[in-house]
């Protein structure tokens, strides 16, 4: 059965990974850009945060990670807005380069163990005591703050400009907004969020690994789409909160899969299938409707021939 420990761990991880879902909400939904920087930016966040924590600065590590993440987003944006690299390729290129950067940040080692390191979680535990659900509290607090700030930001002049950029680029240029600028700001913020997610995760599980971010863009999209499908109809607030809930549900699905003795290697395949199903649903529905109509039309013709 599912124990309390599993529920807590799913909620905690759900809140941490929700930051990636929010990042993709911004890049994929709002800006309409599939940002392949996500995988690398997540690992970058892990690496920076772990290295900083080992050096004795766990809190500063989170902010440094966000700064590093936004730098990665800036490179991707620069490639696509100024240097004419197609948007998906721009992300893939940055991602590839980040592999080396991430290794370098971890001192050219593929992982950073942090067993005895002080983290934001141990710090808060020291303040609140052992029997408090510190981890969940902190993870939820970070997710809530990030979510609130993101939504407030999207209501500002700059936020409106970013939303319009993804919604109707023609109109944006006619409204005196520089799309190169809005895309850059949007991708910087999205990757700062992704890096923050990695940063919190590294301190949560007390280790950073060069492969932690692999497949993160698909996992984030799966969470985002689960949330959208279940609760996503409505304003910006609903959509952003849906992304957080989607991420938590995704973690529960994973927890159940693990309980069912599915090997953890199978999880990425499951994520991939969830994303494919969710994104292709409109096309599949249309295809089915078309086949039905064709079948009905053929059937009617056949019937008519019998009558004659």
């Amino acid at each position: 059965m599912i124990s309390t420990a599993i529920v807590f761990s799913a909620l905690e991880l759900g809140c941490i990974y929700a930051l990636v879902a929010m990042a993709l909400f911004l890049s994929f939904r709002v800006l309409n850009i599939a940002d392949m920087t996500t995988d690398g930016a997540f690992t970058l966040g892990c690496a920076v945060s772990a290295t900083m924590a080992v050096a004795g600065h766990p809190v500063l590590g989170l902010f440094t990670a966000m700064l590093a993440g936004s730098a990665a987003g800036f490179i991707t944006a620069l490639l696509q807005t100024r240097l004419g690299v197609p948007s998906i390729l721009a992300g893939i290129i940055t991602n590839t380069g980040l592999y080396t950067v991430n290794l370098a940040v971890m001192g050219f080692s593929s992982n950073v163990p942090m067993l005895k390191t002080n983290t934001i979680f141990t710090m808060l535990e020291g303040l609140l005591g052992e029997d408090f659900p510190t981890k969940l509290l902190l993870a939820a607090l970070i997710a809530a703050i990030a979510c609130t700030l993101l939504i407030l930001f999207l209501g500002t002049r700059l936020g409106l400009s970013i939303r319009a950029t993804g919604d109707n680029p023609d109109m944006v240029r006619a409204s005196s907004i520089n799309t190169a600028f809005t895309i850059t700001v949007g991708l910087c913020i999205a990757n700062a969020l992704t890096a923050l997610s990695g940063a919190v995760l590294a301190q949560y599980q007390r280790s950073a690994d060069i492969n932690l971010g692999t497949g993160m863009v698909v996992i984030g999209l799966a969470s985002l789409i689960i949330g959208e499908t279940l609760f996503g109809r409505g304003g910006l607030w609903t959509k952003a909160v849906a992304a957080v809930i989607g991420s938590i549900i995704y973690r529960f699905i994973i927890a159940i899969a693990m309980r069912a003795n599915l090997p953890s290697e199978a999880l990425k395949l499951i994520s991939a299938i969830i994303v494919v199903l969710a994104i292709s649903m409109p096309a599949i529905k249309k295809g089915i409707a078309f086949q039905r109509r064709r079948y009905a039309a053929m059937h009617a013709k056949g019937g008519a021939r019998h009558d004659a």
């Binding site: 930001f153 209501g155 500002t156 002049r157 700059l158 409106l160 400009s161 939303r163 319009a164 919604d167 109707n168 023609d170 109109m171 944006v172 240029r173 006619a174 409204s175 005196s176 907004i177 520089n178 799309t179």
Partner: protein, 273 residues
């Protein structure tokens, strides 16, 4: 002088089999408050002229001066601070998943160049938007929180018109902005256009395929053919013109008859075709 084009030229795909001389030396001067209608055959370069003025591309030669400022090499988003533009496609001018209020706030950005990018829509702005929406008389002022995607084409085009003129532009470019609407709606949007342009004394260029509208609206009419202006009429010369006279003059000026299918279709109809 509000707008001045000097020898503006543009060739697309130069040196290839698809080479197209879209603009071949356009000279044009507009006074403040001029309302100029533009007619011309298919591919005459009317929309290309607008693209040049709005900055969608940089011309190969010539200069463009708006209100004393040379804007020849200014990027499009800078020019749109002072140039409003409407396209034939009503979907082009508004962001569908954002609310009416948010769309207007974006248009209003042009006026608020000095405020912080992190500021939000204020109460006073909301009141202004409501007031201006009410003037359209479409009931949109009660739907400010609705996404624009829910509006009809005509409502969206009226909203786009409001957005383009919310901050009075130095120049308004109307590219057959009523052509995709049904006749009644087109009429309504055209009425609104006349009203707003007159109210704010906006300098305006309007492409139309409706010859009656071309002669009736504004104070000056241009005819374009093969990338140049072949006819430029205003004042008394234009006042006495009929559509047939206009077509006649065109044929004499260019050596061939006007071959715009839509113009010919609309020849028999009234202004509100």
């Amino acid at each position: 002088m509000m707008l001045e084009l000097n020898g503006v030229e543009k060739t697309f795909n130069p040196g290839t089999v698809n080479e197209k001389k879209a603009l071949t030396g356009i000279d044009l001067k507009l006074e403040q408050g001029d309302f100029v209608t533009i007619v011309g055959s298919n591919g005459a370069g009317k929309s290309t002229l607008f693209n040049a003025i709005a900055g969608s591309f940089i011309p190969d030669a010539g200069s463009i001066v708006l209100d004393g400022q040379d804007i020849t090499f200014q990027p499009d988003y800078r020019r749109s601070k002072t140039i409003g533009r409407l396209f034939q496609d009503p979907l082009k001018g508004t962001a569908p998943s954002m609310t009416i209020e948010e769309n207007l706030a974006l248009a209003y950005l042009r006026a608020s160049g000095h405020t912080s990018p992190f500021s939000r829509i204020t109460k006073a702005e909301r009141e202004l938007f409501r007031e201006r929406l009410a003037a359209l008389d479409l009931g949109l002022e009660d739907r400010m929180k609705h996404p624009v995607g829910l509006l009809s084409g005509g409502q969206r085009q009226a909203l786009t018109l409001l957005m383009a003129t919310l901050v009075t532009p130095k120049l308004l470019l109307l590219d057959e902005h009523t052509a995709a609407l049904d006749p009644a709606t087109a009429d309504k949007v055209l009425e609104l256009t006349k009203k707003i342009v007159a109210e704010h004394n906006i300098t305006c260029l309007m492409i139309t395929h409706n010859m009656h509208a071309a002669l009736e609206l504004g104070n000056r009419t241009l005819m374009m053919d093969a990338g140049r202006i072949v006819l430029d009429m205003g004042g008394t010369e234009r006042a006495g013109m009929t559509v047939d006279d206009l077509l006649d003059r065109f044929a004499k000026g260019t050596g061939h008859i006007l071959d715009n299918d839509r113009i010919l279709l609309s020849k028999e109809q009234g202004v509100a075709d």
